[in-house]
Amino acid sequence: MSSMELKLTVNGQKIKKTTQSHYRLLDFLREDLDLTGSKEGCGAGECGTCSVFINGKLVKSCLVPAAKAEGAKIETVEGIGNPEKMSEIQKAFCATGASQCGFCIPGMVMAATSTLRNNPKASLEQIKEEMGGNICRCTGYQKIFDAVEMARDVINKEKSEKVFEEYDKPANSFIGANVKRIDAPSKVTGRLKYAADMKMPNMLHMQVLRSDRPHAKILNIDLSKAKKIEGVRGIVTCDDVPGIDNFGVFIEDQPVLAKDKVRYVGEAIIAVAADTLEQAKDAVNAIKIKYKDLPALYDPEEALKEKILIHEHYKTNLVKHIPIRKGNTEEAFKKADVVIEDEFATQPVEHAYLEPMAGVSYIDQDGVLTIVSPSQNITHHRHMMAKIMNLPIHKVRFIMSPVGGGFGGKEDMIYQGMLALLATKTRQPIKYVMTREEDIVSTAKRHPSRTKYKMGLTKAGRILAAEISMLADGGAYGCSTEGVMRKAAILGAGPYNIENLKMDTRGVYTNNTPSGAFRSFGALQTEFATESMLDIAAEKLNMDPFEIRRINAFVKGNITHTKQELNSASINTVLNELEKLASWEKGSPQSRGNSRKDMFSKDNRDACELGARLKTNGNGKRVAR
């Protein structure tokens, strides 16, 4: 690998350093200068976690070859401020609660800094437009906008610096108080170290060979060339697993590395550890695999026919069926004034936490196998790992690293097993950081679903009966499918007192990317169908959408769909408060649309017409720089 000498100024310091010729500016900052406040969220200029200033201009440092920065003045988030001395913008981010997982936040702080440097009086629309290149997956952006506006007003002396310290200081109780978020300073300054930011002496880098076939038998693996590559310290396959090789949140059906066959594109087959990331990549590229393609399943309806089996030993593709039966729907439909039937579908969705999967594994001072990773469930991971590694449970240790967004996506133990195998094999620390592309292709998604719905109501809007049947694509492995089906079934008919209910949810195996845990876990899919049905019903019955919901809403003492007595039920309060909050104009969906009078309130944002900065700025002056 060739190297070059780079001379430049970083955060006011003159730097002269030999670095890899092919490094991007982001690599140079993170690997050579340990300035890990700039994060790598996507590596392709699509997220903004790596934003830095070059000669005063904000750019995404993953798109800049380090060589291009020769002689330049670079400013990173570490140069903007530190927890002891934060900039106005950083203080405002703390004050409004703009940081959640924190992974996008250094980039956001940079984008906000650039926005206000370019136009200290930027309007909200101009702020949004100029920060449009930075993605946040946690906050919904609102508190970030609040922070930038707060900082702008302080910088312009329109507000006092005191606004940064306006937290609740209650006389009696801290419960219900807006106190200072304790992890905010480390997040807004980039000081917090996520797994990908960690380094250890003698640390090796792991790379993974993944399946490019949806369903195929592995006939032969040729490692001979890979083993000869300089710097390669260990290669592991499924044969290296000492214990019982499977894991999964509900059903343990997934091997650490594919065994005999692959079941989806992106499945891990071989892991390599080498001195450098580049060597590990070269080794992975040098591995040859012979496959025999197998007929594959992509459609859950087809999966139910059981002509092809994804996991032969289960003798079925059905992962889980959850039935709920209450009353007698058939009889109730006969009594209904209106019966509505319809179908709904939802798509697979990626978690898109800004922090790609990453972890470090090592054997600690007590000889304990240790894995540091942003896992959402280290308790369960330790159980599974002990079994996989054939170790007593106290010889396995999981440490949680700060989680750069999870949303359920980091509940699956899909890479920690490989780290453990290589740390055990090489006795050296191992680090693994997925690229965004690798993360997208290999990790679980929200279950895509199809729901058939039949609802019977009285003229007055009471739901007499509902039959709901959801079929979900669980993909190649079980992950959280069982739990997702359960929640979808229990909650799917909504917060409504329905005496006759027939609910079925089914999750099946296919050769698609696995589906797993995702915020709102099945309930999102089935409740979407119910809430759409209620509006369809409201239109048919000429009723207000709030009214039809209130008529059916649970009250304290009602029996739920799973026959549990409710000790409290706030849905009516919630609906009443919401109706007031939104100043809802009553009426049936039939008469609505542009004619309604409750729209265009100040609680809406402006519809986005790009070019806020081509018009005028906050002062009514043309923007000129």
Partner: protein, 309 residues
């Protein structure tokens, strides 16, 4: 992962040609905003080049010559300059409008107009706008140790999807565009969001009026065909005609067959027609555009029924 051994940054055309005639196995880059995302899994994968030559700092590619008739923009001009420059905002109104839809502020600081054209992506936003500016581009090549420059219309330069009229080591040097001060301009684009958008359809239009008549109309479309193109039937129909809804409506139907994309064809066809109408109306610079459009909507509602059968 993109890997290379050497990264060269020549400062003049001469330096560039001397380097590329001497050094074999060169890959030419400018803003790098397409190259680095390309060299990743699912696209180019792990890529190695012996040598990379960065042309973004070549003097001749950074010219900016402003004239009352013609304006010369170096090929390494970045999109953020098109967005921010006051003179451009006045005399080349359509360019800032394209820029604001182009990726985001940070990518625009790097992405060059030359790089965007040389990529020749059917979904590239730059080309339709430059087409409406009657752009001529200059290509430099090196023969017998001499730099030879050739000027050609942009339409000639872009030959197809990812194909341009450049031989090995030739370089796109600059863009000569028409000063369109006094024109109304509009750029319409649709994708799936409002920042970092990839076009499904985009339309660029320029309109000049003479009293109550269209003196000049230029409309170009991107995202729907192999190479973005001017809608000449639409333009010719409107030139000299009076500004009225019927004329615009009739014109909007004349070029819909330019759509070559097989995917989402019907959708693109409908949006294209809507965009042609709307961008012309917006270019007319009516102060209350929504009201105008609403009136337009109501007036031709019936006439349009047949367009979609």
């Amino acid at each position: 992962m993109l890997r290379y051994d050497n990264y060269f940054i020549p400062k003049t055309l001469k330096e560039y040609f001397e380097l590329t005639s001497k050094v074999k196995d060169c890959r030419i880059v400018a803003g790098c905003t397409d190259m680095l995302p390309w060299a990743r899994e699912g696209r180019g994968g792990d890529v190695f080049f012996k040598n990379v030559v960065d042309v973004s700092r070549i003097k001749e590619l950074n010219v900016f010559k402003f004239g009352s008739k013609k304006i010369l923009l170096g090929a390494a001009t970045n999109y953020q300059k098109l967005f921010l420059d006051k003179k451009i905002r006045k005399s080349l109104k359509v360019l800032p409008q394209v820029s604001v839809w182009f990726a985001d502020d940070q990518i625009r600081e790097l992405a060059t107009i030359g790089g965007n054209i040389v990529n020749a992506s059917p979904a590239g936003d730059g080309m339709p706008a430059f087409l409406t500016l009657n752009t001529k581009v200059t290509v430099a090549s090196f023969k017998n140790k001499k730099i030879i420059k050739l000027k050609m219309p942009l339409e000639k330069f872009v030959k197809g999807r990812n194909k341009v009229a450049l031989n090995k080591n030739d370089l796109l040097v600059d863009f000569e565009v028409e000063n369109t001060d006094g024109y109304g301009a509009c750029f319409e684009k649709v994708g799936h969001r409002r920042s970092l958008v990839i076009s499904t359809v985009c339309v660029s239009s320029l309109v000049k009026l003479n009293k109550n008549k269209f003196q000049d109309v230029r409309v170009a479309v991107g995202g729907v065909c192999e190479v973005p193109t001017r809608l000449t039937k639409t333009e010719n129909f409107l030139k000299g005609k009076s500004i009225d809804e019927n004329n615009i409506y009739v014109a909007s139907k004349l070029d819909l067959d330019v759509i070559q994309s097989r995917s989402r064809r019907e959708y693109r066809r409908e949006v294209l027609q809507n965009f042609i109408i709307r961008s012309i109306l917006k270019s007319l610079g009516k102060t209350n555009i929504n009201e105008t459009i609403q009136k337009f909507d109501n007036k031709i509602e019936l006439k349009m029924e047949d367009a979609h059968v």
